[in-house]
Protein backbone atom coordinates (compact mmCIF):
# COMPACT_ATOMS: atom_id res chain seq x y z
CA UNK A 1 0.00 0.00 0.00
CA UNK A 2 1.17 3.49 -0.86
CA UNK A 3 -0.17 5.59 1.97
CA UNK A 4 -0.14 9.32 2.49
CA UNK A 5 -0.84 10.95 5.85
CA UNK A 6 -1.79 14.57 6.38
CA UNK A 7 -0.82 15.58 9.90
CA UNK A 8 -2.34 18.82 11.14
CA UNK A 9 -1.80 18.66 14.91
CA UNK A 10 1.23 20.19 16.60
CA UNK A 11 0.99 17.72 19.48
CA UNK A 12 0.66 13.98 19.23
CA UNK A 13 -1.76 12.60 21.79
CA UNK A 14 -2.45 9.16 20.39
CA UNK A 15 -0.36 6.43 18.84
CA UNK A 16 -2.19 5.77 15.56
CA UNK A 17 0.48 7.59 13.64
CA UNK A 18 3.27 5.63 15.28
CA UNK A 19 1.63 2.28 14.37
CA UNK A 20 0.85 3.06 10.73
CA UNK A 21 2.73 0.90 8.25
CA UNK A 22 2.91 1.00 4.47
CA UNK A 23 5.22 -0.04 1.65
CA UNK A 24 5.50 3.62 0.81
CA UNK A 25 4.57 6.13 3.46
CA UNK A 26 4.45 9.88 3.00
CA UNK A 27 3.66 12.39 5.70
CA UNK A 28 2.44 15.85 4.81
CA UNK A 29 2.81 18.32 7.64
CA UNK A 30 0.01 20.84 7.22
CA UNK A 31 -1.82 23.35 9.42
CA UNK A 32 -0.34 23.30 12.89
CA UNK A 33 1.46 20.12 11.87
CA UNK A 34 4.10 22.35 10.29
CA UNK A 35 5.57 22.96 13.75
CA UNK A 36 7.00 19.43 13.62
CA UNK A 37 9.11 20.69 10.69
CA UNK A 38 10.45 23.88 12.26
CA UNK A 39 10.47 23.65 16.05
CA UNK A 40 13.07 21.93 18.16
CA UNK A 41 11.44 21.62 21.53
CA UNK A 42 14.15 21.78 24.20
CA UNK A 43 16.67 21.20 21.44
CA UNK A 44 15.03 18.01 20.19
CA UNK A 45 13.34 17.54 16.85
CA UNK A 46 9.80 16.19 16.88
CA UNK A 47 9.44 12.42 17.32
CA UNK A 48 7.10 12.54 14.33
CA UNK A 49 10.20 12.90 12.16
CA UNK A 50 11.55 9.58 13.51
CA UNK A 51 9.00 7.72 11.41
CA UNK A 52 10.40 5.96 8.33
CA UNK A 53 8.60 8.04 5.73
CA UNK A 54 8.94 10.72 3.11
CA UNK A 55 8.19 14.06 4.73
CA UNK A 56 6.58 17.09 3.15
CA UNK A 57 5.54 20.42 4.61
CA UNK A 58 2.82 22.56 3.09
CA UNK A 59 4.36 25.85 1.99
CA UNK A 60 1.20 27.91 2.44
CA UNK A 61 0.78 26.82 6.07
CA UNK A 62 4.50 27.23 6.76
CA UNK A 63 4.63 30.80 5.51
CA UNK A 64 1.31 31.77 7.09
CA UNK A 65 2.86 30.98 10.46
CA UNK A 66 5.95 33.10 9.84
CA UNK A 67 8.41 30.41 8.77
CA UNK A 68 10.37 29.71 5.60
CA UNK A 69 12.38 26.82 4.16
CA UNK A 70 15.39 28.19 6.08
CA UNK A 71 13.68 27.14 9.33
CA UNK A 72 13.25 23.46 8.45
CA UNK A 73 14.98 21.34 11.08
CA UNK A 74 15.77 18.40 8.81
CA UNK A 75 16.92 18.29 5.18
CA UNK A 76 14.68 15.28 4.53
CA UNK A 77 11.59 17.51 4.74
CA UNK A 78 10.52 18.72 1.31
CA UNK A 79 8.27 21.66 0.69
CA UNK A 80 5.07 21.17 -1.30
CA UNK A 81 2.38 23.68 -2.23
CA UNK A 82 -1.36 23.06 -2.70
CA UNK A 83 -0.87 22.05 -6.33
CA UNK A 84 1.93 19.70 -5.40
CA UNK A 85 -0.21 18.18 -2.66
CA UNK A 86 -2.93 17.38 -5.19
CA UNK A 87 -0.31 15.60 -7.30
CA UNK A 88 0.86 13.63 -4.28
CA UNK A 89 -2.69 12.56 -3.52
CA UNK A 90 -3.79 11.77 -7.05
CA UNK A 91 -0.63 10.38 -8.62
CA UNK A 92 1.67 8.93 -6.02
CA UNK A 93 -0.46 7.19 -3.39
CA UNK A 94 -3.24 4.64 -3.21
CA UNK A 95 -4.79 6.14 -0.11
CA UNK A 96 -4.54 9.31 1.88
CA UNK A 97 -5.64 9.73 5.48
CA UNK A 98 -6.01 12.79 7.70
CA UNK A 99 -4.84 12.49 11.27
Amino acid sequence: MKLGVILTESKRTEDTFERLQADKLSVVLAGNGIYHAVIKENGNTSKVLDKAADFYVLTEDLESRGFTSADLVDAKIKQVNYDGLVDLIMDEHDKFVWL
Partner: protein, 139 residues
Protein backbone atom coordinates in the same frame (compact mmCIF):
# COMPACT_ATOMS: atom_id res chain seq x y z
CA UNK B 1 -17.28 62.23 42.87
CA UNK B 2 -17.00 58.51 42.25
CA UNK B 3 -13.65 56.89 42.98
CA UNK B 4 -11.72 55.93 39.82
CA UNK B 5 -11.75 52.20 39.27
CA UNK B 6 -9.46 50.28 36.93
CA UNK B 7 -10.39 46.75 35.98
CA UNK B 8 -7.33 44.70 35.11
CA UNK B 9 -7.85 41.89 32.64
CA UNK B 10 -5.22 39.35 31.66
CA UNK B 11 -5.71 37.37 28.48
CA UNK B 12 -3.50 34.29 28.55
CA UNK B 13 -3.08 32.71 25.12
CA UNK B 14 -1.79 29.15 25.23
CA UNK B 15 -2.81 27.76 21.84
CA UNK B 16 -0.96 28.09 18.51
CA UNK B 17 -2.41 30.25 15.71
CA UNK B 18 -4.81 29.45 12.85
CA UNK B 19 -5.98 25.95 13.80
CA UNK B 20 -8.79 27.73 15.58
CA UNK B 21 -9.85 31.35 15.98
CA UNK B 22 -9.23 31.05 19.70
CA UNK B 23 -5.98 33.07 19.99
CA UNK B 24 -7.24 35.77 17.65
CA UNK B 25 -10.39 36.01 19.74
CA UNK B 26 -8.29 36.90 22.78
CA UNK B 27 -6.51 39.64 20.85
CA UNK B 28 -9.80 40.93 19.43
CA UNK B 29 -11.31 41.15 22.92
CA UNK B 30 -8.28 43.04 24.16
CA UNK B 31 -8.40 45.38 21.18
CA UNK B 32 -12.09 46.02 21.81
CA UNK B 33 -11.45 47.18 25.36
CA UNK B 34 -11.36 50.82 24.36
CA UNK B 35 -14.77 50.48 22.76
CA UNK B 36 -16.12 48.72 25.83
CA UNK B 37 -15.32 51.74 27.98
CA UNK B 38 -18.35 53.60 26.58
CA UNK B 39 -20.48 51.13 28.54
CA UNK B 40 -18.70 51.82 31.81
CA UNK B 41 -19.53 54.40 34.44
CA UNK B 42 -17.48 57.58 34.72
CA UNK B 43 -14.12 56.91 36.26
CA UNK B 44 -14.15 53.23 35.35
CA UNK B 45 -11.52 51.93 32.97
CA UNK B 46 -10.47 48.55 31.62
CA UNK B 47 -6.79 47.70 31.31
CA UNK B 48 -6.20 44.50 29.35
CA UNK B 49 -2.84 42.77 29.06
CA UNK B 50 -2.00 39.88 26.75
CA UNK B 51 0.33 37.08 27.78
CA UNK B 52 1.49 34.35 25.40
CA UNK B 53 2.55 31.08 27.02
CA UNK B 54 3.25 27.54 25.81
CA UNK B 55 2.43 27.08 22.12
CA UNK B 56 0.70 30.44 22.35
CA UNK B 57 4.08 32.15 21.86
CA UNK B 58 3.86 31.06 18.21
CA UNK B 59 1.14 33.68 17.69
CA UNK B 60 3.65 36.45 18.29
CA UNK B 61 6.06 35.57 15.48
CA UNK B 62 6.76 38.03 12.69
CA UNK B 63 6.59 37.47 8.94
CA UNK B 64 3.22 35.65 9.03
CA UNK B 65 1.79 35.40 5.51
CA UNK B 66 -1.78 34.39 6.29
CA UNK B 67 -3.20 37.22 4.19
CA UNK B 68 -1.33 35.87 1.16
CA UNK B 69 -2.39 32.27 1.64
CA UNK B 70 -5.62 32.25 3.66
CA UNK B 71 -6.94 35.73 2.84
CA UNK B 72 -7.21 36.62 6.52
CA UNK B 73 -5.33 39.13 8.65
CA UNK B 74 -2.48 37.60 10.57
CA UNK B 75 -2.24 37.15 14.30
CA UNK B 76 1.01 39.09 13.97
CA UNK B 77 -1.05 42.04 12.72
CA UNK B 78 -3.41 41.70 15.69
CA UNK B 79 -0.42 41.75 18.03
CA UNK B 80 0.89 44.88 16.33
CA UNK B 81 -2.52 46.54 16.68
CA UNK B 82 -2.57 45.63 20.35
CA UNK B 83 0.79 47.32 20.80
CA UNK B 84 -0.44 50.31 18.81
CA UNK B 85 -3.12 51.04 21.40
CA UNK B 86 -0.49 50.84 24.14
CA UNK B 87 -1.45 47.51 25.67
CA UNK B 88 1.25 45.36 27.20
CA UNK B 89 2.04 42.16 25.32
CA UNK B 90 4.05 39.61 27.29
CA UNK B 91 5.75 36.54 25.83
CA UNK B 92 7.03 33.80 28.11
CA UNK B 93 10.80 33.66 27.90
CA UNK B 94 11.08 30.00 28.88
CA UNK B 95 8.49 28.86 26.33
CA UNK B 96 10.16 30.87 23.59
CA UNK B 97 13.55 29.39 24.43
CA UNK B 98 12.16 25.85 24.71
CA UNK B 99 11.04 26.15 21.10
CA UNK B 100 14.38 27.52 19.95
CA UNK B 101 12.87 30.83 18.89
CA UNK B 102 14.98 33.96 19.12
CA UNK B 103 13.31 37.10 20.45
CA UNK B 104 14.31 38.80 17.19
CA UNK B 105 11.64 36.71 15.45
CA UNK B 106 8.81 38.42 17.32
CA UNK B 107 6.31 40.86 15.84
CA UNK B 108 7.46 44.46 15.63
CA UNK B 109 4.86 46.99 16.69
CA UNK B 110 6.86 49.93 15.39
CA UNK B 111 6.10 48.78 11.84
CA UNK B 112 2.59 50.16 12.47
CA UNK B 113 3.85 53.11 14.48
CA UNK B 114 3.42 51.60 17.93
CA UNK B 115 5.53 52.92 20.79
CA UNK B 116 5.13 49.70 22.75
CA UNK B 117 7.15 46.56 22.11
CA UNK B 118 6.59 42.94 23.02
CA UNK B 119 8.08 42.16 26.42
CA UNK B 120 9.83 38.81 26.75
CA UNK B 121 9.49 37.94 30.43
CA UNK B 122 9.98 34.91 32.65
CA UNK B 123 6.86 32.95 33.55
CA UNK B 124 7.20 34.22 37.10
CA UNK B 125 6.31 37.70 35.88
CA UNK B 126 3.27 36.38 34.03
CA UNK B 127 2.32 34.61 37.25
CA UNK B 128 2.45 37.98 39.05
CA UNK B 129 0.22 39.49 36.38
CA UNK B 130 -2.24 36.64 36.93
CA UNK B 131 -2.33 37.37 40.62
CA UNK B 132 -2.79 41.10 40.02
CA UNK B 133 -5.57 40.69 37.45
CA UNK B 134 -9.20 41.22 38.42
CA UNK B 135 -10.27 39.02 35.54
CA UNK B 136 -8.21 36.16 34.17
CA UNK B 137 -9.15 34.75 30.78
CA UNK B 138 -7.48 31.71 29.21
CA UNK B 139 -7.61 31.12 25.48
Amino acid sequence: MAEAKELKQLFVVQRPPYKSENPKLALTHALASQTAEIYLDDGETVLPTIAFVGDGVLNALNNQKSMDHYGISSNENHVQMTLLIDLRVLVCKEDLEARGIDAGRLADGSALGADMSIEVVPFSEIQKEMEAADQLLFF
